[in-house]
């Protein structure tokens, strides 16, 4: 009997981590997008809308081109284009970034809903399309691993079941976080991007094109958020559902802040928030005492606590949210 219970808890724990990773993946892409945009000085509240556009275009691509990989690519490109349109409004026309972000979320919701009816003649949900295949990575067959039995059994029991089989975006998202960290903190491009977000006038003075850097960052953030959306519609599910992000763009925004505007911090925050989501789902099946709404609230509560300086302190880039006008001193 006790054997039964221990194996049951083990199963749930592995399952818990697997679903935490899956829930975290779309958040990771979008949060990284947020990091790039805000580091360049553009507040991007529109992440949720861009994800929605990405999710929809991914399904369109998979439906018409019969290839989920092309769907992913189309999501990336359309996310970038949608974000660049946002960029034109806030960079060139210097509109309030928050107001414009809210409007772009509305726009994304309206456009995807409209196109869903127009193209698939369906309200609410698109037809099923080919989703991304699972990748199997045999961590437990790592050469030489069998020489360390303790390690081997740990990998067999935990690493392999948790990390061994996922859709490609799961691996891509984690890789993207490390790549983003490298780009942002170890390359001249990253240095310029951060300079533009901290002190655009100084960056401009030393010859960095502030507008170009911001367009690049916003475009990149759109590409990433678009991928995040595609992860929802082609990775987790295999169709588009109206408003399917259900606020994940805002959780990603919270994760970006919780991670203090750094790619690896955002990665950690997304994994944590994904874990809460998995707990909440598990709680529903097991009937936890703690209401599931508490777990759903937790990311937002924690983010507010971090902003208020209760746990650590998060400070945004100095020029975040401020339009730059070259002609004004």
């Amino acid at each position: 009997m006790s054997d039964f219970w221990s194996s049951l808890t083990l199963l749930f724990q592995v399952g818990l981590f697997v679903s935490a990773l899956r829930a975290a993946t779309p958040l990771i892409f979008a949060a990284l997008g947020g990091v790039f945009s805000e580091r360049s000085g553009v507040v991007n509240i529109a992440l949720d809308g861009i994800m929605l556009v990405g999710a929809f275009m991914a399904v369109m691509g998979s439906y018409f081109l019969k290839d989920p990989w092309l769907g992913l690519l189309i999501a990336l490109v359309s996310g970038a284009l949608f974000a660049l349109l946002f960029g034109v409004i806030v960079i060139r026309y210097r509109a309030d970034q928050v107001v414009t972000g809210v409007a772009f979320n509305m726009l994304a919701l309206g456009l995807t809903g409209f196109l869903l009816r127009l193209i698939f003649h369906h309200a609410g949900q698109s037809p099923m399309v080919a989703k991304l295949p699972d990748w199997v990575i045999p961590f437990n067959r790592f050469p030489g691993l069998s020489r360390f039995p303790a390690l081997q059994s740990f990998v067999d029991r935990w690493i392999q079941p948790v990390l061994g089989q996922h859709t490609p975006p799961v691996y891509l998202a984690i890789a993207a976080a490390f790549l983003a960290h490298y780009v942002l903190f170890r390359t001249p491009f990253g240095l310029r991007l951060r300079a533009v977000g901290e002190h655009p006038r100084a960056a401009d003075t030393v010859g960095v094109n502030v507008y170009a850097m911001r367009y690049l960052a916003v475009g990149l953030s759109g590409a990433l958020a678009g991928l995040g959306g595609a992860t929802l519609s082609l990775g987790l599910l295999s169709s588009f559902i109206e408003n399917m992000t259900s606020g994940r763009g805002f959780i990603a925004l919270a994760a970006m802040i919780f991670g203090k505007w750094t790619p690896l911090g955002a990665l950690g925050a997304c994994l944590l928030f994904g874990f809460f989501d998995a707990l909440q789902m598990l709680g529903q099946t097991l009937g936890f005492r703690v209401p599931r709404e508490f777990f759903l609230m937790l990311p937002y509560l924690l983010t507010m606590a971090v902003l208020a300086g209760v746990i650590g302190r998060a400070t945004p880039p100095a020029a975040d949210g401020k339009p730059y006008d070259k002609s004004h001193a």
Binding site: V43, I45, I89, V90, Y93, R94, A95, D96, V98, V99, T100, V102, A103, F104, N105, M106, L107, L109, G110, L111, G113, F114, R117, L118, N243, S246, G247, F250, L253, A254, I257, P291, E293, F294, L296, M297, Y300, L301, T303, M304, L307, A308, G309, P316, G321, K322
Partner: protein, 366 residues
């Protein structure tokens, strides 16, 4: 911190007349774009926009329903406008509206108030909504005023917390129906009087207009309002003049949240008569941003903006049901209006280009 508070609120600097022209041009351009979308859907824009018009002005009943759909927008619009005048951006009107709804639904149905006359119970119900919204906004308000944390992120976070919190309340402690998640029906003594039946028109619209008047009085005729506007206009100057900046920021946020919460309670007491869990945002808080922006953050403008977006909200339903035109087009139109008003440079640029071309033509003739 002061530098952050001095964030430029461009709409302030523009003259009223120019704002009106930009708002008008934005709405026209957006409707023009919407016509393009209707054509794309293979329908006639004429039929579509006729349905839009009929939805609000086709009959007395339809007009009565317009007053219903514009009422919450007056409240959320006023909410955002008051915060904006203090230099704050309250994206949290949505959450404040929701907690106002549940507070109103609770106070309207609570057995403590059974037997109370309407003149006492109704104000208590509405006040509960105001307090709940005010309290909800006080959290980001306090963090902004005394810790310098930007209110935008916190109000967004509070929206989601409100959504889950009320969901929990209506699924658990306040649940009154085993099948549909909803609270008890409010008592007749907490209901706003309905007229022009069978429409849902009720005294809520009158309350909304009176509150708009009160907000105008508060903001332009009292010391408190002057203080709030001064802080929004130039916090450093306000501080130098001896106006306690932090206190006014907090106060503006509480009033702003209270107005949105009051809107929620009015919606419950006039229309829904209970809290119904839909588990998504109502959208009134976000549309309120459009309303306030279009109305130049002035109570009179807000009422005008709410009137317009009320027509849109009615029209979206009718375009869909009567003319089979996707109602999502109206979301696109609303979004475009916000973008064009926020990026006023676009419309001013268009105007300037035209006038400069005319100037050249005139010069060529001379």
């Amino acid at each position: 911190m002061l530098a952050e508070r001095e964030r430029a609120f461009r709409p302030f600097r523009l003259e009223g007349l120019e704002r009106l022209w930009i708002a008008f041009a934005a709405v026209m351009l957006a409707l023009f774009l919407g016509a393009g979308f209707i054509l794309w859907a293979g329908k006639s824009p004429l039929v579509g926009y006729q349905a839009l018009w009929q939805g609000s002005f086709g009959s007395l009943q339809n007009f009565a329903e317009l007053t219903v759909s514009m009422t919450p927008l007056v409240f959320t619009g006023l909410s955002i406008a008051v915060a904006y005048r203090a230099g704050l951006f309250n994206i949290g009107a949505e959450g404040q509206f929701i907690v106002g709804q549940i507070a109103g639904a609770w106070a309207g149905a609570a057995s403590v108030f059974t037997g109370w006359p309407m003149w006492a119970h109704l104000p208590v119900t509405l006040l509960a909504g105001f307090l709940a919204g005010g309290l909800w906004a006080a959290v980001p308000g306090l963090l902004k005023a005394y810790r310098g944390v930007h209110e935008v992120i916190n109000t967004i976070m509070m929206n989601w917390i409100a959504l889950y919190f009320t969901h929990w309340l209506v699924m658990g402690p306040l649940r009154a129906d085993p099948i549909v998640p909803r609270t008890k029906d409010i008592l007749p003594s907490a209901m706003l009087w309905r007229f022009l039946l069978p429409s849902r028109a009720n005294l809520g619209i009158v309350v909304a207009l009176l509150v708009a008047l009160a907000v105008w009085y508060l903001m332009w005729k009292t010391t408190v309002g002057y203080g709030i506007r001064a802080v929004g206009y130039n916090p450093s100057a306000a501080e130098y003049a001896g106006i306690p900046v932090a206190r006014h920021l907090l106060l503006a946020m509480i009033i702003s949240g209270g107005l949105a919460g009051l809107g929620g309670a009015v919606w419950v007491s006039g229309v829904q008569l209970k809290f119904l869990d839909i588990f998504t945002f109502t959208g009134y808080g976000f549309d309120g941003i459009a309303v306030a922006l279009l109305g130049n953050n002035h109570p009179l403008g807000v009422v005008g903006g709410a009137f317009l977006f009320g027509i849109f909200a009615r029209g979206a339903q009718l375009m869909q049901s009567v003319a089979d035109i996707p109602k999502e087009i109206i979301s696109v139109v609303t979004a475009v209006v916000i973008i064009l008003v926020a990026a006023d440079q676009i419309i001013r640029g268009l105007g300037r280009r035209r006038s400069s071309r005319r100037a050249k033509e005139v010069a060529a003739h001379v």
